[in-house]
Symmetry: C2
Subunit: 328 residues, 2 copies
């Protein structure tokens, strides 16, 4: 009996192996009314990043963002992290120092301590595993399963920029593959590169929610794209959702490059991953409060009853069902 | 400027990147007088294991042993763990189910909960990262740095068996590479295979130390071989050590296979890794107490003053300096 992993997809595989897809981080009761949070992420060369254009310093920074975002998505505070690296001989000590410098920079910004790690030889490419522990009070924890009918669907920035940044890097890589001293052309698109290469974990959003004493009803880190991550909230909460096409925030640079590359910017916004922004829901009455947090929250739709599915509503009122892209 | 990683070795690399080799696990004050412990380990196909002879179920079991042993080496209790897997298409869903079954078995035996994980596609081999959190009371934590002159050096089982088990598997792999229906010959050496493929984390030792109210002065997980790990304790504690050749516990099967393969069993005992036993030190007066714990503790030597180095003492009184093998 041999079942190909591709027939299940990433989420199907996790469900079959562990009996269910959980929240962004595991929550363990700490015996004092709160929770210890724990999460782990693996990033592999050739799949999650390409070292031909990904600077090691940015990769270290992004690794921390990927890990810490999962703690933030539980409305938690990240405390410590470990980094395990599988290192091939093609990398020099200086490359790893750059990686650590980037990781330390992100940790400083986020108030997280690097407490340990593991370094092992790799006969293939660079393998990275980041694990983060954090904490959250019992009355502030947010899971994927708490969204209720009529809640507002909110996101913390514009969408699709990281995805377009990746396309730009891939285009330049192809264009310059044969050139001796390549000079990639990124003018005007620095913002997109920044979103792909050096995304920031939105600790500022969680801090602002805390100061305003707002507890979202559900939250998730947008790592796989709005469509996929919204569907995760709908599934976990047993609800549907409607998001409005004309409410999707898309940056000017994203539109410009999408036009140049003949990519539909809405598809990029819905299915482009790597944004590491937060997608969350709050009760209907909180619209004004979340918009006034000052951290760029946009209300893009609302939660609907179970069985209504998730759909994108166009300006003329038509509904387009939201489906997740395949993975693995 | 390019410094080859091989010029530093694993420990040199970690020192340069992180400013020092720490304990087996990071210890974070929990605000209640105790510590949260955290550790991470990466295992890569082709470096740490060979899937041509390593059954997936055993690999899952061993992965948990590798992670949990680091918590035990701090005299701690492991609580939760996460597993991150980078999975290549050559593996089937059933292979991963076997891996998880083995991991769950080890976790049941050790009282540890699998709380989460990450699954990502790999374009190369299988990559595994295990991260474990645990806890230890403030008056029971043991580090590498606490060994004092005249302390006894203790280990929890015989040495070199896992290393010989690996040699046996490698020999059979070479011998049977061209055979259509290979039937490897392992009769009489099942014990060595078990030590390599399915090593047990010594929770029983930590439990017994706790019941007897003994707190070792220093402790480490023997993963890189007695020589290397004893040197880590000596370096961290600022002491030397003498271990006695005729006190090194070596199993009958280890002697037998070493003889067959023309390997020096003492070299296997000193430098063979993967044992995942505990190496610890206790004050001189505790010899009888540790031997009577009933968990197979053997006293193999004692701690000496700083500057005396670490050495193996032969039956005729000669001293052979202990040096670590190279890594990475």
């Amino acid at each position: 009996m041999r079942t190909e992993i591709s027939t299940l997809g990433e989420f199907g595989l996790i469900e079959r192996l562990t009996g269910g897809v959980g929240d962004d981080a595991a929550a363990i009761e700490n015996g004092a009314g709160g929770y210890t949070l724990m999460t782990t992420d693996m990033l592999l060369e050739g799949v999650d990043f390409d070292l031909t254009y990904f600077p090691m310093r940015h990769l270290g920074y992004k690794t921390v963002t990927v890990g810490v975002s999962d703690i933030l998505a539980m409305n938690g505070t990240a405390g410590q992290l470990t980094l395990a690296l599988g290192v091939s001989a093609k990398l020099a000590v200086e490359d790893l120092e750059e990686f650590y410098a980037g990781a330390r920079k992100a940790c400083e910004e986020l108030g997280v301590e690097i407490v340990g790690g593991d370094t092992t030889a790799s006969v293939t490419g660079l393998a990275i595993c980041v694990s983060v522990v954090g904490s959250v009070a019992g009355d502030r924890i947010v899971r994927r399963s708490g969204a209720r009918v009529n809640d507002l669907v909110c996101i913390t920035s514009n969408l699709g920029a990281a995805y377009l940044g990746l396309h730009l890097l891939e285009r330049e890589k192809r264009a310059l593959a044969e050139v001796e001293n390549p000079e990639p052309k990124f003018e005007g698109y620095e913002y997109l590169l920044e979103r792909q290469l050096r995304p920031r974990a939105r600790k500022d959003v969680v801090d602002a929610l805390g100061e305003a004493e707002i507890v979202p009803t559900a939250m998730i880190d947008i790592s796989d794209g709005l469509a996929s991550d919204l569907l995760q909230i709908c599934k976990a909460s047993g609800v549907g959702a409607r998001v409005y096409l004309d409410r999707l925030p898309i940056a000017r640079e994203t539109y410009a490059l999408a036009d140049e590359l003949h990519i539909d910017p809405v598809v990029a916004a819905l299915n482009g991953g790597d944004d590491h922004e937060l997608l969350f829901t709050v009760p209907l009455g909180m619209q004004e409060q979340v918009v006034q947090l000052g951290v760029g929250v946009e209300v893009i739709g609302h939660i609907t009853a179970e069985g209504t599915g998730a759909a994108l509503v166009t300006p003329d009122g038509a509904e387009v069902a939201i489906k997740a892209q395949g993975f693995v």
